[in-house]
């Protein structure tokens, strides 16, 4: 196993230990949402007063808001009073006792992904003490990061240990009143990640929430905040490649990134929440607000996402290019199969001078999947010399799926340069036959063609992630060709 991967896993298992062991002792609260729920959440997390106030403000604003309906997705209305807003992960007694009790189909998928047995047990929620063996290793890395002044841990920890940082930056990119789902998240978020990279520090390893999201049955409302101080660099990996069987319906996360002068943040996501079954039953509603602020000069934020899961994806990782010469990038692969729907894209807001943005979006639709790219490029008055390049490609597999593109462009500065390219293609039977003729079976042929289509994006992912993203695409496409 490459050491890089090992590091991530070990670090991740360390995180699991710290984030959840404490939570295991807490109990669920009844469904429903009111101010008392929020007070309860805040007190359970032993939060300082300012956090409670912040949550309550968000909640009160949320009450005045309407669920958005402009997105190109259809779903049964969500009953917000029917959701459990705070629940601990299943305790050891509730989960399956061993892999024998786990759905064999799930295990086959894990096998295909090449996830070692121990991790399989962990992902399936089996109570295994052995998983925690690597505590000391985890501590070593946490010490190493600590030596550099890097703060990386759960959001709850950060609230306790670095309240001043949380208070300073929380909501500065995605205000608690930003949109319906962001407001809801601000009111009830249960946990998430916090990361601070001090001035001039280049984070020596990729930081990851590899396991945490997977193991979290509470993972509905996460909040992530990453601050890269002047001249620093961090690469952050979110998500996990294992399919998750989650009974939760709504997942409304918020991610905020801040890059100060000359700082750079690379944020990579592989999202594979439960997409629902072949008939479109079940699955996660993924309503996520992700935004980065290039606050300083010469700063750079790159979003790379591979979205293969969720019944519904509503997600627009965006960049506010405030600092002069700052750069925003968005690289995306979104795949919808069966009855999945994705409405995803980005917003690039050019405010500073000579700001540049690049958008490359690849949408793949199979089965009855519906895939929408929705993007906005906005050049403000003062953004002299701003440049944008957008490319949106759609690939269709079969004849029951759909691809849609909604690019919005708003230019208020005459010096701006914009380029937009778009294409839609169908996987040709001729391509498949050609590969068949070279000895490659149809399923492999389709996955090869799709991976070729996505190559531009995979290049942006850290290597190990790219390999898993490829495997994931193949698995997600299984059965999409007859």
């Amino acid at each position: 196993m490459p050491t890089e991967r090992k590091v991530i896993e070990e670090l991740a298992s360390k995180e699991y230990k710290y984030c959840f062991v404490t939570e295991i002792e807490t109990e669920s609260i009844p469904p429903g949402l009111n101010e008392d729920t929020i007070r309860l959440i805040s007190s359970k997390k032993n939060e300082p007063e300012f956090m409670l106030e912040w949550r309550l403000k968000a909640y009160r604003h949320w009450l005045t808001m309407k669920e958005p309906s402009w997105q190109n997705v259809k779903y049964t209305p969500i009953d917000y009073q029917d959701i459990v807003y705070y629940s601990a992960p299943k305790s050891a007694g509730d989960g399956p006792k061993s892999l024998d009790e786990v759905d064999p189909e799930l295990l086959r998928t894990y096998e295909k992904l090449g996830i070692p047995l121990k991790e399989q047990e962990m992902l399936a929620g089996v109570a295994v003490d052995a998983v925690f063996d690597s505590v000391s290793v985890g501590t070593t890395f946490s010490e190493k990061l600590g030596e550099l002044g890097i703060i990386f841990g759960s959001f709850s920890e950060a609230v306790q240990e670095h309240p001043e940082l949380v208070r300073k930056w929380l909501g500065t990119v995605v205000p608690s009143t930003d949109n319906f789902f962001a407001a809801l998240n601000s009111a009830v978020f249960s946990d998430g990640s916090f990361c601070y990279i001090p001035k001039g520090v280049r984070c020596p390893m990729e930081l990851s929430t590899y396991f945490r999201i997977n193991a979290a049955n509470t993972g509905q409302f996460e909040r992530t905040l990453i601050i890269a101080d002047e001249g620093s660099y961090v690469s952050y990996l979110e998500g996990c490649t294992a399919p998750m069987r989650d009974t939760n319906q709504l997942h409304a996360a918020v991610v905020e990134l801040v890059a100060l002068d000359n700082a750079q943040i690379k944020y990579s996501t592989v999202q594979n929440w439960y997409p629902g079954d072949k008939e479109g039953k079940g699955g996660i509603y993924n309503f996520v607000t992700k935004r980065g602020k290039c606050a300083g000069v010469n700063s750079k934020i790159s979003w790379t996402q591979v979205e293969t899961g969720s019944a519904i994806t509503w997600k627009y990782p965006s960049c506010i290019l405030l600092g002069d010469n700052s750069i925003g990038e968005f690289y995306s692969v979104a795949l919808t199969n069966n009855y999945q729907q994705a409405d995803t894209g980005t917003k690039m807001i050019h405010i500073g001078k000579n700001t540049r943005s690049t958008i490359v979006s690849k949408g793949i639709s199979a089965g009855h999947g519906q895939n929408t790219y929705r993007g906005m490029v906005k050049i403000q008055k003062g953004a002299d010399g701003a440049r944008n390049y957008s490319q949106c490609d759609s690939l269709l597999i079969g004849d029951k799926c759909g691809a849609h593109t909604f690019p919005y462009i708003e230019v208020k500065n005459p010096t701006a340069k914009m380029e937009h390219e778009a294409s839609t293609s169908k996987i040709g039977e001729d391509q498949v036959f050609y590969l068949n003729q070279r000895g490659i079976g149809t399923e492999d042929a389709v996955s090869m063609i799709v991976n070729g289509f996505c190559k531009q994006i995979f290049r942006e992912l850290p290597m190990e992630f790219a390999v898993e993203a490829q495997k994931l695409l193949s698995i997600s496409l299984e059965g999409s060709v007859g």
């Binding site: 391509q431 050609y434 590969l435 068949n436 003729q437 000895g439 492999d444 090869m448 070729g452 190559k455």
Partner: protein
């Protein structure tokens, strides 16, 4: 190696092949010539397993097996290779990647161990040299942005790597200038051996100046109307297809 018996094929209700009979042995090189629309390419695609045709009669045996019952990839794994008339582009998938998948699928099929990346690269480089292909071909996406001539050369290169038992080259000479034609011919000749059968489908005799066939068959209107040796191709070139067609008309009229 290959035996086609009374093969009849239709597409969209129209009969394209009207009773083809052909026997090809290991080591032989057969040329199938014919005018446009005579069914040459249909025959190639049927052998490769394309499913848009309806086979109404006949049998095809390949190495003692019923070829028509096999999936296209199974045929490929059993050593049947087709060089396409119009090689398709597959963006983002490199030649190297596709060939490794294809070669290893065939090795697996034969119960051999899969080649690892190093051994594979060595093999590919050696094969590229054999058919005089620049190594830059290896890492280019399959046929993407290739010129017409490059696409055809890429087909021969793939043949060199996959080392088929039976290769069907569908109009590999079409669209090539004389220099490219010579290079392609050289590649094919380098791949001729006593165990390998090759069927060359062509409209013109030109290619056969450089690749000398053991047998020449003339396909007209879905039937092989004349078979002979390399001289038949020369005669055909001199007299044109009309010469044969009128003969065929006479034959079918009798």
């Amino acid at each position: 190696m290959l035996e086609i018996k009374n093969l009849r094929v239709r597409i969209a209700g129209k009969e394209i092949l009207r009773g083809i009979n052909l026997k090809v042995k290991a080591g032989e090189l057969h040329a199938i010539m014919g005018p446009n629309g005579s069914g040459k390419s249909t025959l190639a695609l049927i052998l490769a397993g394309h499913d848009s045709y309806e086979i109404t009669a006949g049998e095809v045996h390949y190495q003692g097996k019923n070829l028509l019952e096999m999936a296209p990839e199974e045929r490929a794994c059993e050593g049947l290779f087709m060089a396409f008339q119009y090689p398709i582009e597959i963006p983002g998938v490199t030649n190297l990647y596709m060939l490794k998948a294809g070669l290893n699928a065939a090795r697996k099929h034969r119960g051999q161990e899969e080649l690892d990346a190093m051994d594979f690269l060595k093999l590919v480089k050696e094969r590229a040299k054999l058919v005089e292909i620049d190594e830059s071909f290896l890492n280019r996406s399959v046929n993407e942005g290739f010129s017409g001539g490059e696409k055809k050369r890429n087909e021969i290169f793939q043949m060199a790597v996959l080392e088929p038992k039976l290769a069907v080259l569908d109009e590999t000479d079409s669209g090539l200038d004389i220099d490219a034609l010579k290079i392609v011919a050289k590649g094919v000749n380098a791949l001729r051996n006593k165990d390998r059968a090759i069927i060359i489908i062509t409209h013109y005799q030109r290619l056969l100046n450089y690749i000398v066939p053991d047998y020449v068959h003339v396909l007209v209107d879905g039937r092989i109307v004349r078979s002979g040796d390399k001289d038949l191709a020369v005669e055909l070139e001199a007299k044109g297809y009309n010469w044969i067609e009128s003969g065929a008309a006479a034959a079918s009229g009798s």
